[in-house]
């Protein structure tokens, strides 16, 4: 290591950099384009690496900037300078968060869904059903003819699904289980498997109500809501980790809790979307769409109308209102 040296740029002929010791000895020298400049970051010293392996380090930032000229790295450094222009960057950051949340995430989720191999859909459904059977679900006790009647309604709805709303790998099927833990309920999985609990068929036997609820569940599958939810939370998890950088565990927790709340709002939004889809599908199949609204009214009587800020579903009364608006509007 040598302390103290001077660097000279000679522009006669081809640009050439020469480093001399304080006593005038030649230390190293190379054509300018062969010398690698370290990126300028804050006020850290610049390092110039010469082809012979020697490294010249200096704090003479302005001189080096002159020699280096206008490069991508120097423009980046100029944007980082603390001056009024930085307020523009800050604004861009705020706008960026909003746009990213509003559009960017959906775009990334759409790409991820398009890239998901079709066989995985069926495999995921089968896996979930297996897990249910092993834990909280038992075989159905519904009589054969009752199941056939409900399957008939399901097939009526599937029959009129637009061709382009069925993706490869998705196969619609309806199954029945006795799951006392979740009461009267029905749910759909990404691959198109819909499960209805015995309690549901017993409590809500009317054709129109069953059609309404099945239409809603089919709406979830057609909209890929389940898969979107999985990719979305995975995406946000990764993005918080990458964008926030080194924030420490507590702050990261707070960001992720915020994300959880936002993903619940996403979930409530998707419930309304599925309601709207169900209403249209059911009406087109010749059932009375009021059935879904009637279902939610009865639900209010049974379990109440509470939708906290941590709820996955919107308030039942709000859904009734929305559904009636939809029916009236068309």
């Amino acid at each position: 290591m040598v302390e103290g040296a001077r660097i000279t740029l000679s522009t006669a002929g081809e640009d050439h950099l020469t480093v001399q010791g304080t006593d005038g000895d030649l230390l190293t020298s190379a054509p300018l384009e062969k010398v690698t400049f370290s990126d300028r970051i804050g006020s850290a010293p610049r390092r110039l690496a010469f082809p012979d392996g020697s490294v010249f380090e200096t704090d003479a930032h302005e001189a080096i900037a002159l020699i280096e000229g206008d490069t991508r790295a120097s423009r980046l450094h100029a944007w980082e300078a603390f001056r009024p222009r930085l307020a523009l960057v800050l604004l861009a950051g705020v706008a960026g968060i909003w746009a990213f949340w509003r559009y960017g995430l959906d775009m990334m989720v759409a790409v991820a869904i398009a890239m998901t191999p079709a066989p995985l859909f069926g495999a995921m459904d089968a896996g979930t059903i297996q897990a249910l059977d092993r834990t909280i679900a038992g075989p159905t006790d519904l009589p054969e003819d009752e199941r056939a009647r409900i399957r008939g309604i399901f097939d009526d709805l599937i029959a009129i699904l637009p061709e382009d709303s069925i993706r490869s790998g998705q196969e619609y099927s309806l199954d029945f289980r006795s799951i006392p833990a979740i009461g009267p309920n029905a749910f759909a999985m990404p691959g198109g498997s819909v499960i209805m609990t015995d309690a549901f068929a017993e409590k809500f036997p009317e054709d129109d109500v069953i059609a309404g609820v099945l239409g809603h569940e089919i709406g979830h599958v057609v909209g890929d809501h389940g898969l979107k939810q999985v990719y979305r939370s995975l995406g946000i998890y990764v993005l918080v980790a990458l964008l926030a950088g080194d924030t420490g565990p507590i702050l990261e927790n707070i960001l992720l809790e915020g994300n959880l709340l936002l993903s619940l709002s996403f979930s409530r939004e998707k419930e309304l979307e599925a309601d709207a889809f169900g209403v249209r599908l059911v009406r087109d199949a010749g059932y009375d769409p009021v059935g879904l609204a009637a279902f939610f009214r009865r639900l209010i009587e049974i379990v109440g109308d509470d939708a906290g800020y941590r709820a996955t579903h919107p308030a039942n009364s709000a859904r009734v209102e929305r559904i009636e608006e939809l029916i009236d509007g068309e």
Binding site: I41, P45, R47, E80, F82, V89, I250, D306
Partner: protein
């Protein structure tokens, strides 16, 4: 004329670690990093990470020479893409019960490899005074510190956790080298127990005080009522319960973690030598460090993250101010070693899943 007595075998020249970064510079870099990351749907964040590391390394000086970070954004990006692809496949396949179990077992086997890769990559990409660091830990050692010792500690109801932690630090420090010169660390276990007891004492004392205050304030009445009746809480009550939980995290858990960090940092630095010639000295006052960490977090949240760069600079400066290198020989004798291959996969896993291997300079 008498010849002067020979110097004692080990004479140290203390050299203060200096952090020369400042908030103005770092704020500009941070916000530009963030905007470019957002615009590119987070692809640029790999380059942003490099720029962040370079900023903090290059502005940290020992004996007038600074550190540097040499990874490229491209290396980081490739590592991250591989990890994200793995994460996506793992998440989707987890829906299938048998595969989920197998996947978890496979992950246990991969974990030590990730740890070694991460440490090796980071060491190899870091330098001081143009001499690269290196890491020579192996899979077996990493398997012990990530799987075996934590398991043994759990079997003793965590009463031997300080042993597991010391083994972890020993594995990390003793396998590091600067150029060809190895670091070595050995410390009595009693000091690790002291640090753990201090953290536990904080949790018990502050936790009891906070619990008492919250009980008196009646915030949890709604929660207990709902536990009694099995009815869900009213939304407003839920909000209070959540906020109280965060308050707990804030004044109980986080400071205890900071306390333990500061105390173990001092232990590690004060019991580590470099090539037997140079030593380290860390004098971080634990309670002042807790104060820095807590006030930083409050400032960051209160400013909606705008003060994050300020907080990061403040912490880096505080730690540097309490660190000395005790130089016991020439600083010019470190020679670069042959560099082995390394990849950024372990490092990327650390970024995304928070694999914490920081021993904290």
């Amino acid at each position: 004329m008498q010849t002067p007595p020979p110097l004692p075998r080990q004479t140290y020249m203390p050299a203060q670690v200096e952090f020369r970064g400042n908030t103005r510079e770092w704020f500009g870099i941070w916000i530009v990093n963030f905007v470019l990351s957002i615009i590119t749907l987070s692809i640029y964040s790999a380059w942003a990470k490099v720029r962040q590391k370079k900023y903090f390394y290059q502005h940290t000086y020992v004996g007038g020479r600074n550190f540097d970070y040499h990874a490229t954004g491209k290396q980081i990006l490739i590592g991250r893409l591989i990890v994200i692809a793995g994460l996506v496949v793992f998440t989707l396949l987890s829906a299938i019960p048998v595969v989920a179990v197998l996947g978890f077992l496979a992950f246990l086997f991969v974990m030590p490899w990730l740890v070694v890769q991460s440490l090796r990559f980071n060491a190899r990409m870091s330098s001081w005074s143009n001499v690269r660091f290196g890491f020579s830990g192996k899979y077996g050692g990493a398997a012990k510190i990530t799987l075996l010792y934590p398991l043994l500690a759990a079997l003793t109801l965590y009463t031997t956790l300080p042993y597991a932690d010391r083994a972890r630090r020993r594995f990390i420090v003793n396998n590091h080298r600067l150029g060809k010169t190895p670091f070595s660390f050995a410390a009595p276990i009693s000091k690790f127990y002291m640090a753990a007891l201090a953290a536990i004492a904080w949790v018990l004392v502050v936790g009891a005080v906070l619990g008492f205050v919250l009980m008196q304030s009646g915030i949890f009445d709604g929660l207990f009522a709902s536990l009694d009746t099995m009815e869900p809480q009213a939304p407003a009550n839920q909000l209070w319960t959540t906020l109280a939980t965060y308050a707990g995290l804030f004044v109980v858990i986080a400071p205890a973690g900071a306390l333990y960090y500061a105390m173990t940092r001092n232990i590690i630095f004060n019991h580590t030598t470099l090539g037997g010639a140079h030593a380290f000295h860390s004098t971080v006052p634990p309670l002042r460090y807790v104060w820095i960490v807590v006030t930083n977090a409050i400032a960051i949240i209160g400013s909606l993250f705008l003060l994050l760069p300020w907080a990061q600079i403040r912490k880096a400066r505080f730690l540097a101010e309490h660190t000395e290198i005790l130089i016991g020989g020439s600083l010019d004798e470190f020679v670069n070693a042959m560099q082995e291959e390394s990849n950024a996969i372990g490092d990327a896993y650390g970024d995304i899943e928070g694999l914490d291997l920081d021993i904290g300079l």
